[in-house]
């Protein structure tokens, strides 16, 4: 068995950072309050001063802080990303999570000793792509896109010179991260450049006939919920549409569902995964406490040779449905 895997937890706010560390996170990941990270939501993320305090709190308890600077700066705005990198390095974060080649290049050139991780937003899904980032920028860990089976991950492990991190819980986006402009197409706000997927400011729920509720993103109808049905957040890749070959509206991409790899932890450890990531910087402190504790217990159980049991987290999942997604079987594709 490989070295002890790291539990990487979301910290959307300073309070969530402390909660995650207290609940057993080996590391937390967070971002600044601007477009430099992929969860650029109002009320979320850190000022430089808050991050300084957060780093001290985490380091004081043996946990690491990973700074996500994982969006793609459009030409003309690069200085915001450059400043974020410089600030992160100055505050002593343990790693910077990058996606853009320009940002990676700047960070590697300017701060050659700073540890870099490759974000899932870079969509590096082959050993060759991963090796490119390792060779060019000295990337030490890659966060894999959620599209590979465990056996495929295992074979990648043997072909790359860096660590592997995989998501184990949380939102389950269907599109390759970093390669999706659907939100921009619908709203004029870009996931890659602005760090926002389905911006809340453009979400509406409107009454429809028969007591139903229509969810909208911008002007676009994304889903319809009958009276009494729980209305989900309108994300384009979890919406319902019609098409020529289907009689009824259907979830063309995926149903509202969350990833939960709790039952597969032992298999993932055996495959050589070095770090397990929990998604959800936008989620509540209660979510962070419960999910981090559950996965802390699960990983410890695996390391002690026991069967992991992450308990019942279904109430915390989107649409109260969970999936093992692509990890379990090729038939997910």
């Amino acid at each position: 068995m490989s070295a002890r895997p790291e539990l990487v937890c979301p910290a959307g706010t300073p309070a969530a950072l402390r909660d995650a560390v207290d609940a057993g996170a080996d590391s937390v990941y967070c971002g600044f309050q601007n477009a430099t990270n992929a969860r650029n939501f109002p009320g979320l993320n850190f000022t430089a001063e808050e991050l300084r305090t957060g780093v001290a709190y985490a380091h004081g308890r043996g946990a690491k802080v990973l700074l996500a600077i994982n969006t793609f700066p459009p030409a003309g705005k690069f200085s915001l990303w450059r400043d974020a990198v410089d600030t992160g390095v100055a505050l002593g974060v343990d790693a910077i999570i990058v996606a853009d080649i320009g940002v990676a290049s700047y960070a590697a050139r300017t701060h050659p000793t700073q540890r870099l991780h490759l974000s899932v937003q870079a969509s590096a899904s082959s050993p060759e792509a991963i090796r490119y980032y390792c060779r060019e920028f000295g990337v030490k860990r890659v966060v894999l896109p959620r599209i590979l089976t465990v056996s495929e991950i295992k074979s990648i492990v043997s072909e790359i010179p860096c660590e592997i991190e995989t998501f184990v819980f949380g939102n389950h986006g269907l599109m390759l991260e970093g390669r999706c402009s659907l939100t921009n197409y619908a709203t004029g706000v870009s996931t890659n450049m602005d760090g926002v997927c389905s911006p809340a400011a453009q979400v509406r729920f409107e009454p429809a006939e028969g007591g139903a509720l229509m969810s909208r993103l911008g002007d676009h109808a994304i889903d319809r919920f009958e009276s009494g049905e729980k209305a989900g957040y309108p994300t384009i890749c979890k919406g319902r549409y019609t098409t020529r070959c289907r009689q009824e509206p259907y979830y063309a991409f995926e149903e509202p569902v969350s990833l939960n790899l709790g039952p597969m932890l032992a298999e993932l450890v055996r495959a050589g995964v070095n770090a397990f990531k929990i998604e959800g910087r936008q989620r509540s402190r209660a979510y962070v406490k419960r999910v981090v504790s559950a996965f802390r217990g699960g990983i410890d159980a695996v390391l002690e040779g026991r069967e992991p049991n992450v308990g019942d987290l279904i109430s915390l999942t989107e649409g109260q449905k969970q999936t093992e997604g692509a990890f379990k079987t090729k038939r997910w594709r």
Binding site: F72, L174, Y185, R333
Partner: protein, 293 residues
């Protein structure tokens, strides 16, 4: 500068029967006023074996007609066969290669190559790094704002490389590992039976209110309206864009290319060209896409 912008025919994103493909490129070779033709499967590796045996003949015919032929790599690489395809493509010596995923950058080993629109080039730092790796030509992602395109055009000129943007065709919006064509037909990618061949311009998704909105092409999602930048050609030329990409659709692409050439050469007004384009009835809706200024 007017008149010197080059027109390119981008890679065919959809799955057409090989006979249709051969006829299409034969006509392009003989009649289309395009300078560059991109060949190769970008979207789905399962489709590639149908076309591969025919590419030498197609490429040779295009080259004989004076077109510059470029072979494109897959936009998404994860399976063994996809890695193999990318490695083989990057070993080509007779033709230029366009890379659409970082997998290709490792394989190309610093030899001259192009960077395609599926590769995230958003800023000058990225462009310069890739030039250092051997890139000579860039096609930018469709969502880049015009101001950023202008800055990148300056950077490209300073580096001695050329710059292309998509000017016609449905806009690629997303890629996935899951095949949504197969899913719509109750199948999965491994037993898709190439059902995407039924939709030569993609499968339309409409909202619950009946508005045609998105288009599915296997693992890819595109816009329903066709991007059309006829009225931006001169502006794009002015800021230093050197090439305009027309993405192939199942309509008279010769006529489309002639309209774009006519406007670029200043012998046709953009509004007149757009009227003629719509008059054919083959295009359901036009948009100027992410290009907002």
């Amino acid at each position: 500068m007017a008149g010197c912008v080059q027109l390119t025919l981008g890679p065919l994103l959809f799955h057409w029967p090989i006979e249709a493909k051969r006829d299409f490129y034969a006509r392009i070779a003989d009649e289309a006023p395009v300078d560059v033709v991109y060949l190769g499967e970008v979207v789905c590796s399962k489709r590639a074996p149908f076309s591969e045996p025919h590419y030498p003949e197609i490429a040779e015919r295009l080259a004989r007609a004076g077109k510059r032929v470029v072979f494109c790599s897959l936009a998404e690489v994860m399976l063994r066969r996809e890695r193999q395809m990318t490695a083989e493509l990057c070993a080509l010596t007779d033709y230029e290669v366009e890379i659409n995923d970082a997998s290709g950058l490792a394989a190309i080993g610093g030899r001259p190559h192009r960077i395609g629109q599926f590769f995230n080039v958003y800023n000058e730092e990225t462009l310069r790094h890739l030039v250092h790796n051997g890139a000579t030509h860039f096609t930018l992602p469709a969502e880049l704002p015009r101001d950023s395109v202008a800055i990148l055009a300056d950077a490209a000129r300073a580096c001695g490389v050329t710059l292309e943007v998509q000017a016609f065709g449905r806009t690629p919006l997303a890629l996935s590992a899951r095949c949504y064509h197969a899913r719509a037909h109750g199948r999965v990618k491994d037993n898709c039976q190439f059902v995407c061949e039924e939709d030569p311009d993609g499968m339309v998704l409409s909202t619950l209110e009946g508005r045609d909105w998105l288009v599915i092409n296997g693992v890819q999602t595109l816009s329903y309206p066709y991007l059309c930048l006829l009225d931006r050609i001169h502006g794009l030329q002015r800021i230093g864009v050197t090439h305009l990409r027309l993405l192939p659709h199942a309509l008279d692409m010769i006529a489309v290319a002639r309209l774009f050439r006519g406007v670029a050469d200043g012998i046709l007004e953009p509004a007149e060209a757009q009227t003629r384009l719509l008059a054919s009835g083959a295009i359901p809706a036009l948009t100027n896409g992410f290009c907002q200024s």
